[in-house]
């Protein structure tokens, strides 16, 4: 089962965990992103996430389908939050359940790495003295 969501509401890890629960799975690996209080030593106040939602959902589906095909995942759940997030809040959850655990680790890592490369979501770091679109410039 593939469960993809982009939401303005707080993400709930239990929801992703439930989405991948399966009696034939030997394990699940869950990645939780969290908003860090600093970046390169500079204090972060908030993050703002913007997305081109329909395409982001489509790209997240592609990632999930690759995980099912390549790693034989039983279930993949990927939730991404958009809007304004405080330090400590969760922008992303990725859960992958597989029959054997090694595949779940590899697939979950592939998912978050690929999400950061291909999914049209943009993050703006808001500092006390300004804001920066992450990764925009060299």
């Amino acid at each position: 089962m593939i469960d993809i969501q982009i939401s303005e509401n707080p993400l709930v890890p239990q929801t992703c965990q439930d989405a991948v629960a399966d009696p034939s799975a030997g394990g699940a690996v869950i990645f939780l992103g969290t908003v860090r209080n600093q970046t390169k030593g500079k204090k972060v106040i908030k993050l703002e996430f913007e997305s081109y939602v329909p395409m982001a959902v489509k790209e997240m589906h592609k990632i999930a389908e690759t995980i099912v095909t390549k790693w034989g995942a039983l279930h993949v759940s990927m939730h991404h939050r958009i809007g304004l997030l405080e330090v400590g809040e969760i922008p992303v959850i990725i859960a992958v359940a597989t029959a054997h655990r090694q595949a779940a680790f590899e697939a979950c890592q592939y998912a978050i790495n690929t999400l950061k490369e291909t999914v049209p979501i943009w993050k703006k770091e808001i500092f006390e003295d300004g804001a920066v679109w992450v990764s925009a410039h060299p």
Binding site: G33, F49, E50, S51, Y52, P54, M55, A56, K58, H80, P91, V92, I112, L115, K116, E117, T118, V119, P120, I121, W122, K123, K124, W133, V134, S135, A136, H137, P138
Partner: protein
Amino acid sequence: MKIKIVPFGIAKEIMQGSNITLDLDVSASIADLKKILKEEYPDFERLNSLKFAINENYEADHFQMQEGDEVVIIPPVSGG
């Protein structure tokens, strides 16, 4: 032909927030569009990457647009 341009993220700031409609030569490519945008908004030159999507798919430089296409400008993504 009329092409609607929809910028996201920093691209929206570079273009001052505006969706715009450009009038391009028939069979203009993504490469042509990129050139026009960089001339109009030089800040696009400074980005790590500049991609374009039509109908929710990334399209490469050689892709030829059609009348009525809506082209989304995708500056460097940073989800997660």
